[in-house]
Symmetry: none
Subunit: 198 residues, 4 copies
DNA sequence: CTATAATCGAGACGGTACGTCCGGTCTTGTA
DNA sequence: TACAAGACCGGACGTACCGTCTCGATTATAG
């Protein structure tokens, strides 16, 4: 009760973390370097996060909140838009290197898995819901059936398909996501959703 | 003229690497432990691979060669089959932890990116081609147009969608890929491909 | 402001160094073994000394401070005494193996040469000065001429002759320094000094 | 029986050893480097010497055979001469670094100690005997008493004093042996020997 | 004039230690 | 109490040599 933590310090640390990620990448990211860059002692880092991975998850999570779903007039266009902006996010070095790394770490740590899910995954499903709702308003998709588990599953499925395809294209196949690819993907997805929902 | 390298040593090392991956996971995998388990000196590892990542790529790559595409009678069923067997592969601890980790590392190393592409990605596209061919023989899909770049792109797209969705579901969303999910996914994908190709 | 170095650690390390020298000898002395024996991390060694040789010089230097020159009543006897006690020092395994080794190393390192000179050589010249002074008080030797470079050179010469002869006898010729040898040597040296100074 | 060893190879190896000693010093001298420099395989080295130390002793021993004792007309002058030529030998980098190093090693190896004694020490005592004989012929010293252990001991003592003083001056005290020092030393030694033998 | 057997070059190999780096904890003094 | 500074332990890193080994290829002698 004597002295409260300095809130600005958190931001400085997360900024420093992202900067180091850009310059060095995940495996060369050291706590000491982040601390020095943030003008902070190593102790302070460990007082706030249990380890490197958790800190990086938090540092990267905010990037995902920049994603939006502007109304481009059709489901097809909306998908194209979100694919392109997600791809551009995944092309930023601090995002691509960190995301895969923490996912890798998470395979041996349930705590980390939870942190990723709450900080990244769940927060972005909103985009799928929003796009679906908008398409229903436009009459492109039928309205949700009340309490339908199938509808809920379709949302999850759509999320994994969109996010997975983009991540795989960019990071594993190592090919660019350009407008042409986004269009082809959106066409495929709309076709599939229509077939399933129709 | 000089003493040749022992070919069996390579196999012993890669076996040891996979075993250590299962027990310790990527971040606790040490060269010394792999060497000891393989009954080999650390030097020998470094004589054959430039680093941990490259060695792990080679160790994991062979797992992907186990994937097959048995003829289950329809495109929909074929997709369900490959999704399930791929998901079962991605659930093996040595595959999931290693794959994400090397992809993360690869974001800062073109050499590693190439190695992943040739050792893993390119080798598995055969499954997509094979499934497509079979569907065409069954009359489920129209035949390829000669020298069509579009057909080629559709193959790549399909590959990223299938592999990406499964990987994302298993590793990021952290949800199981069961028969129900495989069926829903296959339905969506067949719908999309039909719409696009029709 | 920051945490200060633990002074007791220095002593523990030097003790461990001497113990390892006794058991293993110079060429089998490893930093890791010293660290473990001292209950200290290897890092701590390197934080305090640039390398093995420097550490060993410091570890051995204190042994030389044990040397004394008890008044045995005559120059001849004083020399016999110091020769015997120096020889007994040079027979201790930690001294003999270490001293020659660091001298060997020093031939390629001016820094090390300086360290040896200040830590060992200069500190022991006091014995020669003391013995000379005592002999002068007894009237065995004429008093120093003021500001005489010759007197100073004679001190250095005596030091090299005494120390050199003992070291060479023990380490190179590999013969024991017993009372008989000490007496013969002292006789020779007193004869020489008297001839020169007379 | 079948094929004899190439004798020229021995010389090439010892030459290479000395050259490496000059350039790198003892502690940076590697068997691989010597082998390459001699145009020879590492195996060949180990076929001829049990280890580095033994090889270096042989490489350096020949240097000592260059020492001679030209007749300069008096015991005093003869001593000055041998001191200067021995000092010039001890100033050569391959000799100084190697000699101390093998002596250090020898403290833990009787075999090595023997090799040093036969290859270096015993071979050089001839110089003392020769100088003594010459001084006796000149009438500077009384003739040997038959079967006198004392005379024998005086030879050994003289050897240790001369060699020890020079080595200590050059390597430990790190001061030059010039004509002035040689003269002062010779004066001291002649005084001592005369007093003892008188 | 072979054939036979040791020598030789090259370099892979199992080891051991190196000196460095980093993670995470701890101990100081200052604010 | 929070914090900066940095010492500290532990442990892995990638490198360098060691001394041994396995290879073919190359001789010099014995048959």
């Amino acid at each position: 009760m004597a002295r409260p933590r300095n809130a600005a310090t958190d931001l400085a640390i997360l900024d420093a973390t992202r900067a180091e990620l850009v310059e060095k990448g995940w495996s060369k990211l050291t706590m000491a370097a982040v601390a020095e860059r943030a003008g902070v002692a190593k102790t302070t880092l460990y007082r706030r996060w249990p380890g490197r991975s958790e800190m990086v998850v938090d540092a990267v999570a905010v990037l995902f909140d920049e994603l939006e779903l502007p109304d481009r007039g059709s489901l097809q266009s909306d998908i194209e838009g979100v694919v392109l902006s997600f791809a551009s996010l995944m092309s930023r070095p601090e995002a691509k290197t960190a995301l895969m790394a923490v996912v890798a770490e998470s395979t041996h740590s349930p705590q980390l898995r939870d942190r990723i899910r709450t900080a990244v995954v769940d927060r972005q499903k909103r985009l799928v819901r929003q796009g679906r709702l908008r398409a229903q308003e436009r009459g492109e998709l039928p309205a949700d059936r009340p309490d339908s588990a199938e509808d809920e599953q379709l949302i999850d499925l759509t999320f994994d398909v969109v996010a997975g395809a983009v991540v795989h294209r960019v990071l594993v196949s190592d090919e660019p996501v350009d407008e042409q690819w986004a269009a082809a993907f959106a066409l495929l997805l709309v076709g599939g959703i229509t077939a399933v929902s129709g």
